[in-house]
Amino acid sequence: MNFSYSEEQQMLQDSVSKFIQQDYDFDTRRKITESPRGFSEENWNLFAELGWLMVPFSEGDGGLGGSATDLIVVMEEFGKGMLVEPFLATAVLGGGLIAECGNDSQKEELLAFIMGGELQLAFAFTEPESRYELNNVTVTAERRGDEFIVNGAKSVVLNGEAADKLLVAVRTSGEQRDRDGISLLLIDAEARGVRRRGYATVDGQRAAEISLDNVSVPAACLLGEEGKALPGIEKVIDRATLAICAEAVGAMAVTLAKTVEYTKTRKQFGVPISKFQALQHRMADMFIEVEQGRSILYMAAMQMDANGGVAQRAVSAAKSRIGAAARKVGQEAVQIHGGIGVTDELDVGHFFKRLTTFQFQFGSTDMHKLRFLNGESSAA
């Protein structure tokens, strides 16, 4: 048994941590979120230079190894700074799908550009009515000769506006909720018939509504086998879910630390409010939540690494448990701060927002609880 990071992982953590602490303070982040693009190109290039964009990829694909543990090391540090650069959308989701489903020539064509910081991606999978079901796909792709004609709408697509290329889950056969008949297409974001309506998200990121109106896509842009994309999509979404779990653990740790610090400096009734036992126990509870969250995160990452990248049930366990922790830690942090906690000015409210959206991203706490439960019978 070993719970410590390898030397390489330690170095990776140090370098990301240093960047967040020195170059990604809350004011810097705010300026970045308010910029037209919503993230910093300069940072993105730096991430490429430092090799961080190679973290999610296997050595065979030209990456650093792509273990789940490496991924959570980076994501946890990102979470501490509420990083808004589209690492998740481009490298983990987009890059992950290409690595998972793409053929050799597609990988060769694209992966190096992702890792080099030259290509932005977005994965368009949710739809207005799909909620959290990955198999719930109504965007259609009809084969016509050596093209697909794509029609429909995707919603709340992270990084959808800045992306150069979109990975789109489409239905090539079957009914709305069938597991079969889902395919994955790589669509040029500027292609005719693609309309993107970008916006900020409540947690400072960017997303877009995307409509596809008779978009013609060369058949060569199909990733993987026609109609058989769902298992690959699920696998990649699970990895992304694990990634945001790590992000949330990082965010929770900082939220707790800031809350503890604040109570030591804020005086009411002649004493620091940290002296009130009513608040002390609540912070002790927050601490317990963060540690339980971290434990279940490690569990899931270890399972994933031990099982060749597949760990459905473990990921759902982590997502639902960390979701509950995020809810509590976020709400308590704001409450314990008092009025200053509900202002836009202080970072704590923004951590609370991110810890809120986290609970619903890639499936709610309840959804994952159910998936964990249902997985029990199917697990060996």
């Binding site: 608040l279 509900v342 000015e345």
Partner: protein, 399 residues
């Protein structure tokens, strides 16, 4: 024990319903029912309609223009207003400063201030909290030093809700020196926001709106005649007022209305093969809130019944504040959950009148998260829920 309404009460309810149906503007009710941002003009428009009807000041004594309604009538009124989506009456003038003026003010002050409050001609804000005096309000530092017929006021008030709309501010200020006990050093002053030396700067809340402010006083000269009651008695007056603030705070009627709305929304929201209301986990959360609310409703009714037998609202009213805000916040959260992926977008001004951009998400789904974020304030202001529990410990349990 019984909670049946009498014949007169039933016909009163009909009268209220008919009034709301005829006079409540549809745009205001839409905003209220969806928790959308309101402008000053929106509030004033509605309050003037109420005034015309003679129903603006529900709690005031009849002699000053109040309704003279029984507690049951007030309860009916609150329920019907919530169901119809009538905007909240802004409390600062009507529910906060007016009771202090008509209870402790002199004749001249009553003549001067009450009619404009009643008619919503003048907007008031509450200047109690300071950067270093929140829960420990009595430690406030804003000073008022006597200079002839004036007080010279210096200091900073903060968290002043809608202070940027206000014509007047009622303040707790320190008139006693450092050797005077806190509770005897505080006076209650009415200050014209247009006085030289006052400046107001915005505080933006988590939903991106300007709702609160900091108000700075730099040698502001306030006539002594603007002091309510005796010098050094302001704390006593304010405490009476705080109890008033607490009784309406359970907001049972509003929470009931919203819970109904939530169920309808859940029934219309697709979730897998069925609707979100068929989702057992979600349905259970709704039931949990509903049961809490049902108990709270009866807790409030018990409190009302005891007030109607002549007892003052006691420390039990802290239950109403704690549970009322917890229930409202849980409902806010369930709306976020119902919005699902559409809880993410933040399109500023999407729901403002005159928005000519492209809206995102179905209905007001994209308003769910900002509203949830904003309403975390409810368990913080008006005496935080921790402070309410301290009150229960001390005043009820004798700890």
């Amino acid at each position: 024990m019984n909670i049946d309404l009498t014949e007169e009460e039933l016909s009163f309810r009909e009268e209220v319903r008919a009034f709301l149906k005829e006079k409540l503007p549809a745009d205001l009710s839409r905003k209220t029912l969806n928790g959308l941002h309101m402008e000053k003009e929106d509030y004033v428009r509605w309050q003037k309609i109420l005034h015309e009807q003679g129903w603006a000041a529900v709690n005031w004594p009849v002699e000053h223009g109040g309704t003279g309604w029984t507690p049951t009538q007030k309860y009916i009124w609150a329920n019907e207003c919530a169901v119809a989506g009538a905007p909240d009456v802004i409390p600062f003038g009507m529910k906060m400063v007016a009771p202090v003026i008509y209870t402790y003010g002199n004749e001249e002050q009553k003549q001067r201030f009450l009619p404009d409050i009643l008619a919503s001609n003048v907007w008031w804000c509450q200047g109690y909290s300071e950067p270093n005096a929140g829960s420990d309000l009595a430690s406030l530092k804003t000073s008022a030093v006597r200079d002839g017929d004036h007080y010279v006021v210096n200091g900073t008030k903060t968290w002043t809700t809608l202070g940027h709309y206000a014509d007047w501010i009622f303040c707790l200020v320190r008139t006693g020196g450092p050797d005077v006990k806190n509770q005897e050093a505080i006076s209650f002053l009415l200050i014209d926001m247009n006085d030289p030396g006052i400046s107001v700067s915005p505080i933006i809340t988590l939903d991106g709106h300007r709702e609160v402010n900091e108000v700075f006083f730099d040698n502001v000269r306030v006539p002594v005649e603007n002091r309510i009651g005796e010098e050094g008695k302001g704390w006593t007056y304010a405490k009476v007022l705080l109890t008033h603030e607490r009784t309406g705070i359970a907001r049972v009627a509003n929470s009931k209305q919203r819970l109904g709305q939530l169920k309808r929304l859940a029934a219309e929201t697709a979730d897998g093969a069925g609707s979100l209301l068929d989702n057992l986990a979600f349905a259970q959360k709704i039931v949990d809130v509903e049961l809490e609310l049902l108990a709270l409703e009866y807790t409030e009714l018990r409190a009302l019944a005891s007030v109607s037998t002549g007892k003052a609202p006691g420390p039990e009213s802290s239950i109403l504040k704690i549970k009322g805000t917890e229930v409202a916040q849980l409902i806010d959260e369930l709306f976020v959950e119902a919005a699902g992926n559409y809880s993410m977008p933040f399109v500023k001004d999407q729901f403002a009148p005159g928005f000519d951009g492209e809206p995102v998400g179905p209905g007001t789904a994209a308003n769910a998260a900002p509203r949830y974020f904003n309403n975390r304030k409810a368990s913080i202001y008006g005496g935080s829920n921790e402070i309410q529990k301290n009150i229960i410990c001390k005043a009820v349990l004798g700890l």
